[in-house]
């Protein structure tokens, strides 16, 4: 295997607030190669977005502090670079799409201007060239009548169109890695599917690496190559998408899959994961999932599970990972 495009290793981030220190990331490691889509799955507050923002370098510091770890992009550690060098990487190397495109687009500028601006500033393009390129980009993200809509303001676009414009904006400088932070959460279901298709298409066309952050298992199944499941600031399971759906290797993933609504069980009560995720200022000792885990036993309360290697690049942070997979 060639060197991965992005390698996050043992990333620790904490938020120092008045109420105490919230340990948001507790050793996150994942990697993405060119042409590959990694899905990062987890419920709200599990640290998915914080990981992404740490990679981008757009976390507000303070209150956030990176206490350990490395983020290697093309083999170079981003955390060791100067602020100016990191800024160069943003947009050109790694770009990001946000959840709510309406608030991620500046309301006082036209959509066209927001795409052109980067081309003019970073690429030194003339106004006319930048406009031409912006129309091409809007065409690529399938905005109908791109030429006519380019001078519209974000609020004149529908939700799906805004997200398309946002995608066009992040593609302007041809990034090698695209981080999509819940790109479809704010959209309705039919539009969700269109946007996911578009992202998948663009990703394979440009042979980009993509990190897809989501809490929607359905979205993941279609587009992702590999999945990292996060819980309380850790990757608890990492697996190929087919493997994961076939036989989850962590009780948390198992519970997630079980809580999906299923047509064949219509009329029955939906399964949920009982309890709440742990407070990040006060993570319980042992496995952070132990208070909610249906398989918890003595060791889970006292001992933090190590990473169990299950073969074929598959890992799980569970004392009984092998047993869980075998049961699947």
């Amino acid at each position: 295997m060639t060197q991965p495009l992005l390698e996050v290793e043992d990333l620790h981030v904490e938020f120092r607030t008045h109420d105490g220190v919230a340990k948001v990331l507790n050793g996150v490691s994942y990697h993405v190669s060119a042409g590959e889509t990694l899905a990062v799955l987890g419920e709200s507050g599990s640290g998915k977005s914080v990981t992404a923002q740490t990679i981008m370098g757009i976390l507000d510091m303070p209150p956030a502090f990176i206490t350990n770890g490395s983020i290697k992009f093309r083999g170079e550690d981003l955390l060791k670079k100067s602020a100016e060098e990191r800024r160069e990487v943003r947009g050109e190397g790694i770009a990001m799409i946000f959840q709510d495109a309406l608030s991620a687009l500046n309301p006082v500028f036209t959509v066209g201007f927001q795409i052109e601006e980067q081309l003019k500033v970073r690429r030194g393009m003339s106004k006319a060239d930048a406009r031409k390129r912006a129309v091409e980009l809007l065409d690529q993200v399938k905005i109908p009548n791109a030429k006519g809509r380019i001078s519209d303001y974000p609020h004149q676009f529908s939700g799906g169109m805004r997200q398309r414009a946002m995608i066009a904006m992040s593609l302007a400088l041809d990034p090698e890695l695209l981080i999509a932070d819940e790109p479809t959460t704010a959209l309705d279901v039919t539009v969700q599917a269109q946007i996911m298709d578009l992202l998948a298409e663009i990703q394979s066309e440009r042979d980009m690496g993509m990190i897809l952050i989501t809490h929607d298992l359905g979205v993941v199944a279609d587009v992702a190559d590999r999945i990292s499941v996060m819980y309380a600031g850790r990757i608890v399971e990492h697996a190929d998408v087919y493997e994961l759906f076939r036989a989850p290797g962590h009780p948390y993933t198992e519970s997630l899959l079980e809580s999906l609504p299923r047509l064949d069980l219509k009329g029955q009560e939906l399964k949920t994961i009982k309890g709440l995720p742990p407070s990040l200022t006060n993570i319980p000792p042992g496995c952070p999932f132990n208070p909610r885990c249906p398989r918890a036993f003595d060791r889970c309360v006292t001992e933090v599970p190590t990473v169990h290697n299950l073969g074929m690049g598959r890992t799980s942070r569970c004392h009984i990972a092998e047993e869980v997979v075998a049961r699947g």
Partner: protein, 324 residues
């Protein structure tokens, strides 16, 4: 809300059909020709041109500005020609606004007084808005010890009562009984107003920046590699300037009033300089016997202030794309 895209697309289709061409690309081309590239300011201008309040206020302001630049266009009477025989005479066909105590023509003095009043109002406003906005946006965006430092610094100035502060500044700069020239006294009045008023703009700007900074578009701009300077002045400023503009228009009126206050106290503009403020202060003892001495300059102040407030209102609406 209308959808200009589909509207222009429709007319584009008709044009294409009329030409006997039915290729889709032609539809796009014709709709492109019809719609010029737009920017925030050109859009705002297009919006403003259609607003009656904007037109009316602009006309009034232009007249006042014209008055300030070429007062001789409006009157042929010398404002410094005193005829004590006509002291306190009521308005007549000969002198529309009557005569004041010294027998000066009130109409001529109102025309010539526009210059000083407007200069003080406009320059104080510009200076106040510039200093306040700059410090405010830096403090709001930085939000660290820089913010604390700048905010406390602004608090020091905000803590000085306006009239007291102005008295201290202006009496320190001018020795008693000294009679400074026009340029010098106008500059001094402008500076003292700005120095004592900028913390208000700073606070407005800082709070607007704090709100706007939380928006995802700031994160997105950072995420796409925009420099901090670009984010602050290109992306944040247009989103935070509206409340400052509105305050600016109100302040302009208040500053023309402040000019009158300082003139009244004998520390601001003073004769032989002619300004609306000076005229109002001169009329203070004769309001019952000669109300025209107060009413005409005061009316000019009121109408000018109203025009600026209307203008500011229209500009604010036009700068907000969502209000279209």
């Amino acid at each position: 809300m209308s959808d200009p895209g589909s509207v222009s697309g429709g007319t584009g289709l008709e044009a294409a059909a009329a030409a006997g061409v039915d290729q889709l690309s032609h539809v796009d081309d014709s709709s492109q020709k019809q719609r010029k590239p737009r920017s925030l300011w050109s859009d705002a201008w297009g919006e403003l041109r259609r607003k009656p309040t904007f037109i009316i206020s602009l006309v009034i302001i232009l007249i006042v500005v014209l008055m300030a630049i070429w007062p001789s266009l409006f009157t042929s009477v010398d404002p410094r020609h005193a005829n004590l025989d006509k002291s306190l005479q009521k308005p007549s066909a000969e002198a529309w606004f009557g005569y004041d105590l010294q027998g000066y023509d009130v109409y001529a003095r109102a025309m010539y007084g526009a210059r000083a009043s407007l200069l003080v109002g406009i320059f104080s406003t510009i200076l106040t808005v510039l200093i306040g906005s700059f410090v405010g946006i830096i403090a709001g965006y930085a939000k660290t010890w820089i913010d604390s430092l700048l905010s406390r610094f602004a608090d020091i100035f905000a803590g000085i009562p306006f009239v007291l502060g102005a008295i201290v500044i202006l009496t320190t700069l001018n020795a008693p009984n000294e009679n400074p020239g026009v340029v010098r006294i106008v500059t001094q009045v402008v500076l003292s107003i700005a120095v004592l008023s900028w913390p208000v703009v700073m606070r407005i700007m800082r709070s607007a920046t704090l709100v706007a900074k939380q928006q995802d578009y700031v994160k997105a701009a950072r995420g796409l590699g925009a420099s901090p300077m670009r984010i602050v002045f290109r992306h944040l400023l247009p989103n935070t300037i509206a409340p400052v503009l509105v305050y600016g228009t109100i302040a302009l009126g208040a500053f023309i009033g402040a000019e009158a206050t300082l003139a009244f106290l004998g520390i601001g503009l003073r004769p032989p300089v002619v300004s609306w403020g000076v005229m109002i202060s001169e009329s203070r003892d004769y309001f019952q016997s000669a109300p025209h001495m107060l009413l005409f300059p005061a009316g000019f102040v009121t109408v000018t202030v109203l025009a600026f407030v209307m203008l500011g209102d229209a500009v604010r609406d036009a700068l907000d794309p969502k209000s279209r």
